[in-house]
Subunit: 455 residues, 2 copies
C-alpha cells in the first residue's frame, strides 16, 4: 500500500491524533544521542488511549508499515529515531497515574508520565520510584522501562528491572497482553515483564506499568567530595569503599577533563590539573556514621575529603556532576558511551581509557557511576556524524570493557549506535535466539526494525 | 530409536554417569509435592560437568527423547518428576562454588550446590545469597533458580529474580549460552537471565550461575510473637505493619489449625482454640526500634505481643513456623498451595479460605509469608492421589486469589499440578505466546514436556 494510503487510513481511524506537520516529522527523526535517522517518517500518531495504540498497530500490521514507539525522545542510543516510511507512535500524551497504593507499595501508570512528575506525585504519599536516570526531569517512565534505564542510585536501590511488577503490552497485531502481577512474589509462567524491560520497542508497545515503590528514606543525607591526584586513584578509592562493605546511595566519579569542562561552563575557578573527584552521598538513619566511615576509606586511599552536612550544600556538590551533559554539549557534538564493568575492574577500565586516549590522540572526558561500575566516556567531535576514527576508538573501548568482564551498555541500550557490537557480547547463537524471540512477538518484523538486532 | 538403544548411546558417551538401577529410576518419578509421574524414566544421567550435560542433550535431540532436569528433587509442583521413556538429567553432583568476589558482591556456582551449603561457604566472606526457601537445607541453587523460589525474607531482601546476574544455559541441542553479565548494571539485548529464572526446565539446562550477593546484616535480630483471637485479625495486623511503613525481615502468619498441628507434633501445650499467630523478625542496626514500633502496631491491632531479644529465643519462636511442613505430613497426604496476593488483600483472602472450608466441609490449615502476601493453604487427604473434591476446592481457591489481584503461584511454580489453571491467569493469547517462546529455545519440545504449558 502506498504511503499516502497508509496515512489516509490512520487519519480515518485516529483523526486529530495524527500529526503530519513537517516539524513533527522532523523532530521524530532524532533523540538526544546526536544521531538522526535517514529520511523522514510518514506520520506521528499521538495516542491518548490503549485503543489508539491498538488501532495504530492494526493499521501498521495490515499495511506492513514499520512502527517506532516514542516517549519523550530523550534516549541516548537512537532507539526511538524514526526514519523513512515509518509510523511514529507517541505515547507521551498517555501520562496519567491511574492508581497509587501505599499499603501495597505499588502504582499503576500510563507510559508517558515523566519520571520526575511521577515522583513529585508520589512524594505526598511518602513514596518514590527508585530508578533515577539523569534525564528524570524530561524522560518518561515508559521510556525508562523500554531502555532499562539506570541512574545514580542503582547500587543501593536497584535498577528498573527491580522496580516493575507488571506491564500492559500491545503486540504488533494490536492484541493487548497483561504481563506480570501485583503481588510481591509471583512465578506463574515465564517472566515476560523482565523480558520487555530493556527491549527497546522491539517486542510491543508498553501502554501501562505496575511499578514497585519504596517508602521515602527517612533522615538527612550526607554528601562528601573527595579529590584525588589522578583518576586511577579515585577509581581505586571507590572500589575500596565497596570492598569495605560500605554502601553509599550515590558514588559518582569525574575525571580531570570532565571537571575542567564543567568548571568552565559554570564559571567556577579551575580545578587542580589532573585531579579527579569522587562525590559520595549517604542516606537513611545511619547516614552520618556511614559518611564518616566512607570518609576514612577515601582519606586512606589518598583523597582530600570534605563533608557537607546539609542537603543544600550536598546538592551544590552534586550540581557539578549534574552539569556534565551540558558541559559536554558546549564542547562540540558528543557520543556518550555507557560501558559497565564489575566494580573491582573500574581502575583497570580507566587504564584502558588512558591507553585509548593516547593511541588515538583524543581526549575522552569520563564520568562514572562508580558505586555500580557504570562509565560514561564522552567522545567529542565536530559536525553531525560520528567520524570513523571516533568509532574506531569506541570499538577499542567496547572490546576493553568486554575483556574486563563488562557489558556494552549499562543503562542506555543498544538502539542503532551499538547494534554492530551486539553479537560480539552475546555470541552468534544467543544473538540469533534473541532475534527469533522478537519474531514470536512480532512475526512480520514491523516493530522498531533496524534497532538492536539489525546486523 | 528404541529405548534400549538410547540407553546404550548414553552409556557409550557417559559411562558411569549413567544410572539405570530400579531404585534410581523410581526415585526420579517424584518430588516433594506428593505427586509422582506415570511410568518410569529410562535412565538417570548424573552429570559432573558442562560437557556431560551437553553430551546428554545431544543424544536426547538426536533420538527425540524427552529430558527432565533434576536437582535435589525438593520441588512442590511436580516440575522435576520424570515419567515413562524420559531421560533424567541430574545436575546435583555439579556442586562447586567456582568463584567468590567480596569486592564485586558476586559468586559463580554450579547448579547442584545446596542453598544452605552455599550460604555456609559465603559466611566466612561476610556474605550471603538472600533467597531462603524453607527447603534451603535440602534444595539446590539451580532448583531455586529454575522455580524462582522465594522464602521468608523476600519482602525485605528480594526474590530470586533480584539475586541472579547471569546464567550459563545449555540448549536442547547441546549448545552452551552465557546469559547476563557480571556488572551491577547491564541492558545489552533481551534479559534472558530473567526469562530463564522460573522457567522450570522448559528453556534449557542451567549449568552455572553468577549470583548477586549481600553483605551479612550487622547487629542482633529481634523476634516478636503476637497472638490474635482469629486469623482475620492477624492478617489485618500484618497488613497494618506494611501500611505503617515498617519493613520486618520476616513476618509469618499461622492460623489456628496450623498452630494446633504443630503444637501436637512438637508436644507443646495446646494453643488457644481459634487463635492465630504472627511471628515477626527485625534485623540490622535499627532492629530494636523497629521491633518496638511493630509491637505497638500489633497491640493496637488487638494482638498479645511478646518480644525475644536474643537470637536463640527468637529461633525458638520461629521453630514453630518451621515445623509446619512435618506437622502437615503427620496428618496425611498434603497438597501445599502457594497463592500470592497484594498485601492489602491478605484479610480478604483469609475470608475466602474460610468460605471454601465451609463450602467443601474441609479444614485448610494455612500459613502465610504475611510480609509479602504469599499464602500456603494446605489440603490434607488420605491416599496418594488428590481427590476430585480437593481439586474443586483448590480451583475455587485459585479463582479467589486471581479475583483479588493475586497469582497462582508465589514461589513453587506451575509444574504439573497447576498447568490446567495457567491460561486462566495469563489469558489464551499470552499462554500461546509463552509456549511459542519455549519453542525458540527447544524446537522439538524435548525439555520437560508436559510441564507448565501442557494443556
Amino acid at each position: 500500500m502506498s504511503r499516502p494510503e497508509v496515512v489516509a487510513r490512520l487519519l480515518a481511524a485516529l483523526g486529530d491524533r495524527v500529526d503530519t506537520t513537517e516539524s513533527a516529522l522532523e523532530r521524530a527523526r532524532a533523540d538526544k544521542s546526536g544521531h538522526a535517522a535517514t529520511g523522514r517518517p510518514i506520520a506521528v500518531v499521538r495516542a491518548r488511549s490503549v485503543e489508539d495504540v491498538q488501532a495504530t498497530l492494526r493499521i501498521a500490521t495490515a499495511t506492513a508499515t514499520p512502527v517506532v514507539t516514542r516517549g519523550a525522545g530523550t534516549g541516548l542510543a537512537g532507539g526511538a529515531n524514526a526514519g523513512d516510511g515509518e509510523i511514529v507512535l507517541s505515547v507521551r500524551a498517555m501520562d496519567r497515574m491511574l492508581e497509587v497504593r501505599p499499603d501495597d507499595l505499588l502504582a499503576v501508570v500510563e507510559p508517558g508520565i515523566l519520571n520526575a512528575d511521577l515522583n513529585r506525585a508520589l512524594q505526598s504519599h511518602g513514596l518514590w520510584w527508585a530508578p533515577d536516570p539523569a534525564s528524570r526531569e524530561i524522560s518518561t517512565v515508559g521510556g525508562n522501562i523500554a531502555t532499562g534505564a539506570g541512574g545514580l542510585l542503582c547500587a543501593k536501590y536497584g535498577v528498573v528491572r527491580d522496580a516493575v511488577l507488571g506491564l500492559d503490552l500491545v503486540l504488533a497485531d494490536g492484541r493487548l497482553l497483561h504481563l506480570g502481577h501485583r503481588s510481591v512474589k509471583g512465578v506463574t509462567g515465564l517472566d515476560l515483564t523482565s523480558l520487555v524491560i530493556g527491549s527497546e520497542g522491539t517486542l510491543g508497545v508498553i501502554v501501562g506499568a505496575t511499578l514497585k515503590l519504596r517508602r521515602l528514606v527517612p533522615g538527612e543525607v550526607r554528601t562528601l567530595a573527595a579529590t584525588f591526584p589522578d583518576v586511577r586513584a579515585a577509581a581505586a578509592a571507590s572500589a575500596a569503599v565497596t570492598a569495605a562493605g560500605l554502601q553509599p546511595a550515590i558514588m559518582e566519579l569525574m575525571d580531570a577533563a570532565s571537571l575542567a569542562a564543567v568548571h568552565a561552563l559554570l564559571r567556577l575557578p579551575g580545578p587542580t590539573p589532573g585531579a579527579a573527584q569522587l562525590t559520595v552521598q549517604t542516606d537513611g538513619p545511619a547516614a552520618e556514621g556511614e559518611a564518616n566511615a566512607i570518609g576514612a576509606v577515601l582519606r586512606t586511599a589518598g583523597g582530600t575529603v570534605s563533608i557537607a552536612r546539609d542537603a543544600a550544600d550536598g546538592e551544590q556538590l552534586l550540581a557539578i556532576r549534574r552539569a556534565m551533559h551540558p558541559a559536554m554539549e558546549s564542547l562540540g557534538t558528543t557520543l556518550i558511551e555507557d560501558v559497565s564493568v564489575p566494580r573491582s575492574a573500574l581502575p583497570a577500565m580507566f587504564d584502558e581509557i588512558d591507553r585509548i586516549e593516547r593511541a588515538y590522540g583524543i581526549a575522552i572526558p569520563t564520568v562514572a557511576h562508580a558505586g555500580d561500575g557504570n562509565l560514561h566516556p564522552n567522545f567529542v567531535f565536530e559536525g553531525p556524524e560520528v567520524p570513523p576514527r571516533i568509532w574506531d576508538a569506541a570499538d577499542d573501548l567496547f572490546r576493553a570493557a568486554l575483556r574486563l568482564g563488562g557489558t556494552l551498555t549499562g543503562e542506555h541500550g543498544i538502539g542503532v549506535l551499538k547494534r554492530r557490537w551486539l553479537a560480539d557480547e552475546l555470541g552468534d547463537d544467543q544473538w540469533q535466539l534473541q532475534r527469533d524471540i522478537t519474531r514470536v512477538f512480532d512475526p512480520a518484523g514491523i516493530l522498531n526494525p533496524g534497532k538492536v538486532f539489525a546486523s
